[in-house]
């Protein structure tokens, strides 16, 4: 680990210790928050007892579906926009202002159409995740340096090989940014919809525990959720970093 990474770890641990001290000295009342040590203990208890196993499976499966659909859909949308000039001229202005509309406002309508199950939740998550993926893919495709393609043509590279050996690696940094965004937005979409209205899932359990003043379970679940999101992100970042290093060597 680099010096900076150690300093980051120090900040996180330091913040936890300061919080813990504030609780122990009674500055923050227990009604609002429980000390970090108890949060971790509760998180561990939830994991060990398997109490919310079904909810975790439900949420994680939805997140996986949403990520798959956003990444694949975003990539294909980008390809279509990139290769069909009419689509490009029509859709591009809308893509830039798409992020202005919070997709979550359509959730009520989708519940009425699809019922209260996983479908509307996955659709909302895909609405969150697909467009960032598409925008970044388009950016990547536009920024392929023409000279790369010319070199390919000079070497008589076939069209297919040109896509896999020149265009995709050249656009890769942008694709990875898109995937990272699609992943985090899918998580946000799934968890938020569960929070608003759902019959199961991590988000639902957190809001259920909140409604029942069950601070211990609530903070335990929040800690686990944050841990899952962080783990997902850092794994992705680690692998994309390694892959990019190999490709751009």
């Amino acid at each position: 680990m680099t010096r900076y990474a150690w300093m980051r770890l120090g900040i996180v641990v330091g913040a936890g210790v300061i919080l813990e001290i504030l609780f122990r000295t009674g500055v923050i009342p227990r009604l609002i928050m429980i000390p970090p040590s108890e949060m971790l203990a509760s998180a561990w208890q939830i994991l060990a007892s398997g109490e919310f196993k079904g909810d975790f499976y439900f949420s994680l499966l939805n997140i996986a579906f949403a990520i798959g659909l956003s990444v694949a859909g975003g990539f294909l949308t980008a390809l279509a926009i990139y290769s069909v000039p009419l689509l490009r001229a029509t859709l591009e202005p809308f893509l830039t202002s798409y992020s202005a509309v919070p997709p979550i406002v359509f959730y009520p309508m989708l519940i009425v159409i699809f019922g209260l199950n996983r479908n509307p939740q996955i659709i909302i998550a895909v609405m969150f995740g697909l467009v960032p993926m598409a925008i970044n893919t388009i950016n990547g495709l536009y920024r392929i340096r023409p000279v790369f393609l010319k070199v390919g043509r000079a070497h008589r590279v076939s069209a297919l090989a040109s896509v896999f050996r020149i265009q995709l690696p050249a656009a890769a940094p942008y694709l990875f940014v898109g995937v990272t965004l699609a992943v985090s937005y899918s998580v946000i979409g799934v968890i938020s919809t569960e929070f608003i209205l759902s019959a199961s899932g991590i988000g639902h359990q957190i809001s259920f525990a909140y409604d029942n003043y069950d601070n211990r379970a609530m903070y335990g679940l929040v800690v686990l959720l944050l841990a899952i999101a962080t783990l997902l992100n850092s794994t992705l970042r680690y692998y994309s970093h390694r892959m990019l290093q190999r490709w751009t060597r």
Partner: protein, 247 residues
């Protein structure tokens, strides 16, 4: 070329409206209201004084959140960005925090700030401030060093350096961040109103869901979408201008 672009845009909007109408024909009034009725409903809603307190509350919460998020984000971002070691340490941390689903923190904020306007404001700020900060850090750090060196060779004073070099070089990038922050703060504020509040557009929407009041749901969604798209287009126009004058 310009006229053609307008034609394409109009065509796309027409296609969306037809799609909407088709959905109505397929699913019926139990699920959604057709475009024309929805526009009429939304207009009536805006005219009715009954809804003004809620609209006012949402606008007020959103504006307060926006000011706080813009202020904290830009100032924090510039300070962190100008200090190299600090940005090396903090930026990955901020990026990571940004990807965490912030709804999960809602109960915490509610317990601290209560049911009033402030928890919505805090929730809006929470969504908007980090992306603004990240893009401000990027803006400050990505200023072309040649500009700075050039300013030094010309013996600019600190003030001139700030006014003639740093600000013009950073502002377009920071503004792009603000545009993103604007939408995210709106999202956060509406989110905040969804869960626990007694006033506001989000509250009305949640109430309408509980009552399965489809016309109200649809008109509120329409109002939100139109507001978001219009304000974003205005910001986008400013954004393009700033980037053009820079180039």
């Amino acid at each position: 070329m310009r006229a053609r672009q307008v034609l394409y845009t109009a065509g796309f909007i027409a296609a969306l409206l037809i799609f909407w109408q088709a959905l109505y024909w397929i699913f019926g009034a139990r699920v959604l209201t057709p475009p024309w009725t929805t526009f009429a409903n939304a207009w009536n809603m805006l005219k009715m004084p009954d809804y003004w307190p809620d609209l006012g509350e949402s606008i007020r919460a959103f504006l307060i959140a926006l000011i706080i998020a813009f202020g904290m984000g830009t100032i924090g971002g510039i300070v962190i960005g100008a200090w190299r070691a600090c940005s090396e340490v903090l930026e990955p941390l901020l990026v990571n925090i940004n990807t965490v689903p912030k709804v999960a923190l809602y109960p915490v904020i509610l317990l601290i700030f209560g049911l009033g306007i402030w928890s919505k404001v805090v929730f809006g700020v929470l969504h908007g401030v980090i992306p603004i900060m990240i893009s401000s850090i990027g803006a400050v750090r990505n200023v072309n060093p040649i500009y700075v060196r050039c300013g030094r060779t010309m013996h600019l004073t600190h003030w001139q350096m700030l006014r003639r070099v740093w600000v013009p070089a950073c502002v377009p990038e920071i503004f792009s961040g603000l545009r993103l922050g604007f939408s995210l703060t709106l999202l956060g504020t509406i989110f905040g109103e969804f869960f626990a509040s007694q006033k506001g557009v989000g509250f009305l929407l949640m109430n309408a869901i509980d009552l399965r009041n489809i016309p109200t749901i649809m008109s509120l969604i329409l109002i939100l979408v139109v507001f978001a798209v219009l304000s974003n287009s205005a910001l986008l126009a400013v954004d393009r201008r700033l980037h053009r004058t820079q180039a």
